[in-house]
């Protein structure tokens, strides 16, 4: 009888332990955003911008332009429901008979996931990178949170987790400021303060995008002069100046003028309202640059943070290791670089290592273009590598080079667009 009682007690205690442990088991965490799943690196972009600055329109226009090849070696693909939404927004803008789309509601905060796709040597399509882009209401950036709301904190977390930031400057406000209107200066100062206070605490590459560039087409004689004028204006803001001057050695900072509709689609009427022209021509300008800049800028920032002597030693090691499979050598280099910068780019997944190694090789080659002997060595090394690296890696590299080239073209055309992190 005693044994039965003891057994009963033991069973009961075990039952309690099991039940309580099951109850304490942490609930399944919210689905973590994909990061390097299925071997494809994911880059997260958060666009900061106040209400009405053109974040959503930039996104819709960017996708519209990049969803097809359009002379590039890659295109963007998105889930069907997101494609439908982006195309709906773009159609609303494109149709001169329809009103402008209403602003993004706070409840409509959502992430868009883009696959960067390209064709490999065998003709097959590969997803070589993923870009995750956050669209949200500007209120989350500039307005105080309402009691009980949680999205404000959520935005801060997403900024912290981002690989790159895009800061949207409303070209309409710039225009108002240049025209001497108080609301332009105040609106812009308020927006810059809100954005920069968040950007100063996270060292990510930043692309400042001036939207509605078409509204500034008459402020100076040519595009680079116009950009210089706007840059000078922005530098009068203490926070902006600090970000550019204090951080220019450690982070990539760009200034990119864009227009989601182009110069011949809409204009400001006498009351200051933006009206679509009845026979306006939609010609988006530079809308692909902010996205194209993300990947090269992330890599370039890694390079900025590196001990250059260590990098040179690593690269020499790579040069000596021509007997190793080049893919392996690049992955090894990339892993070393990631380890070297881990305190800065701690979020980088090891899956990036091969990609970082390839990007490092590309950057080294760019830096050494003036040294003919080195150039020959590097080119031979890269050519050797290209003949061995698997098709996927080649496709990945091709896209990264195209991204880089798109940014280089803009920098070549508009020298004022580079604000910090000069290579």
């Amino acid at each position: 009888m005693d044994l039965i009682a003891l057994a009963l007690v033991a069973v009961a205690v075990m039952a309690v332990v099991v039940l309580v442990r099951r109850g304490r088991r942490p609930s399944k965490p919210a689905a973590a955003p994909p990061r390097g799943d299925d071997g494809v690196p994911t880059f997260r972009v958060v666009t900061l911008g106040p209400r009405g600055s053109g974040k959503t329109l930039l996104l819709a226009s960017m996708y519209h332009q990049m969803q097809t090849w359009g002379g590039r070696g890659y295109f963007l693909a998105a889930p069907r429901e997101q494609v439908a939404l982006l195309n709906h927004w773009f159609t609303e803008v494109e149709d001169p008979g329809r009103d402008w789309p209403a602003g993004t509601a706070t409840a409509d905060t959502r992430e868009f996931a883009f696959d960067v796709r390209t064709r490999g040597g065998s003709g097959g399509l590969h997803t070589v990178l993923k870009l995750v882009y956050l669209d949200y209401a500007g209120a989350l950036l500039t307005q105080p949170p309402e009691p009980g709301s949680t999205l404000w904190k959520d935005l801060d977390d997403r900024i912290e987790a981002a690989d790159a930031l895009v800061a949207v400057i409303d070209g309409h406000r710039v225009r108002q400021w240049i025209d001497g209107k108080r609301e332009g200066r105040m609106g812009l100062q308020h927006a810059l303060t809100a954005m920069i206070s968040r950007m100063l605490v996270v060292e990510k590459p930043v692309t400042f995008v001036i939207t509605k560039w078409d509204l500034l087409r008459d402020i100076d004689v040519d595009e680079d002069s116009r950009l210089r004028t706007v840059r000078k204006l922005l530098m009068s803001n203490q926070g902006f100046r600090d970000l550019v001057q204090e951080h220019s050695g450690r982070r990539v900072v760009r200034l990119v003028p864009v227009s989601a509709v182009g110069p011949a689609f809409a204009e400001l009427d006498e009351s200051g309202a933006m009206t679509k022209l009845p026979d306006g021509l939609l010609e988006p300008t530079n809308v692909d640059v902010p996205i194209a800049a993300v990947v090269p800028d992330v890599f370039e920032q890694i390079m900025l943070r590196l001990d250059q002597a260590k990098l040179a030693a690593e690269f020499d090691r790579l040069r000596r290791q021509t007997r190793r499979p080049p893919g392996e050598a690049f992955a090894d280099l990339g892993a070393t670089l990631i380890r070297s910068t881990n305190r800065v780019i701690g979020a980088l997944n090891p899956i990036y290592s091969s990609l970082v190694g390839l990007a490092a090789a590309d950057l080294i080659r760019r830096q050494e273009q003036t040294a003919a002997a080195h150039e020959a060595n590097v080119s031979r090394l890269l050519d050797d590598a290209e003949s061995h690296i698997e098709e996927f890696q080649l496709a990945q590299r091709k896209v990264i080079r195209e991204f880089r080239s798109r940014v280089d073209v803009l920098e070549g055309r508009l020298s004022s667009s580079r604000l910090g992190g000069t290579p």
Binding site: A15, W100, G103, E146
Partner: protein
């Protein structure tokens, strides 16, 4: 007729200020931010949308309304109200009730809520920067449904632990009884005795004393 209490509520964009809660139930005074995070614009003039708030404690039914000069009482043909970026201004307005339901309220009740919301919106537009959501009082409406919210997982966990604890106590008492008495049955305690004061065998009829907390 299914009469219940519901509170008018509204979220809208201003000329300068982004989407903000304009009118919120007085019972949500400390947490009305859930409205602006839940109400997403639908088609203007479309059917009511339903959203649950606070983990199912409340349901909001709302419609999307394109604001015009007529809503501000301005004379002449109605013209769309616009923000500083020339975009049309929208308001999501409707009713909030306790519990969950998949049935919207009557259209006339939603119309009544819209009138209250528009009055609040005029206050909002008159002073956007310093505006805080106005509280709304409950009104009787015809709105079927209202299933109470499901027990939160935390409560269920504690419930499970409680059952387990009771099981342990029961088994321990049985075991203790067999170990102590060697199989002899002790006399039953009086019906009014408190259990802890006079241990009684499990086979005794239940006592009537109030359980201690």
């Amino acid at each position: 007729m299914t009469a219940t209490d519901a509170w008018p509520a509204a979220v809208a964009a201003g000329r300068r200020r982004d989407y903000s809660t304009v009118l919120a139930p007085d019972v949500l005074a400390d947490g009305y931010g859930v409205l602006v995070e839940a109400l997403s614009p639908g088609p203007v003039g479309g059917p009511p949308r339903l959203r649950t708030l606070g983990g199912g404690r409340f349901t909001v039914a709302y419609v999307t309304h394109a604001l015009t000069t007529a809503d501000l009482g301005e004379p002449g043909a109605p013209r769309p109200l616009r923000d500083e970026q020339s975009r049309p201004l929208l308001m999501m307005c409707g009713l909030v009730r306790a519990g969950t339901t998949s049935t919207p309220p009557r259209e006339s009740d939603l119309d009544g809520a819209r009138r209250v919301a528009l009055a609040a919106y005029r206050h909002f537009l008159a002073g956007e920067e310093a505006f805080r959501a106005l509280p709304s009082r409950a009104v009787p409406v015809d709105w079927p449904g209202g299933v109470p919210a499901a027990t939160p997982a935390r409560d269920r966990r504690f419930g499970r632990a409680g059952v387990a604890a009771a099981l342990v106590v029961l088994v321990a008492l049985v075991g203790w009884f067999f170990l102590r008495s060697g199989g002899e049955t002790a006399p039953c305690a009086p019906a009014t005795a408190v259990v802890v004061a006079s241990p009684a065998p499990a086979t005794c009829p239940p006592t009537t004393g109030k359980p201690g907390r």
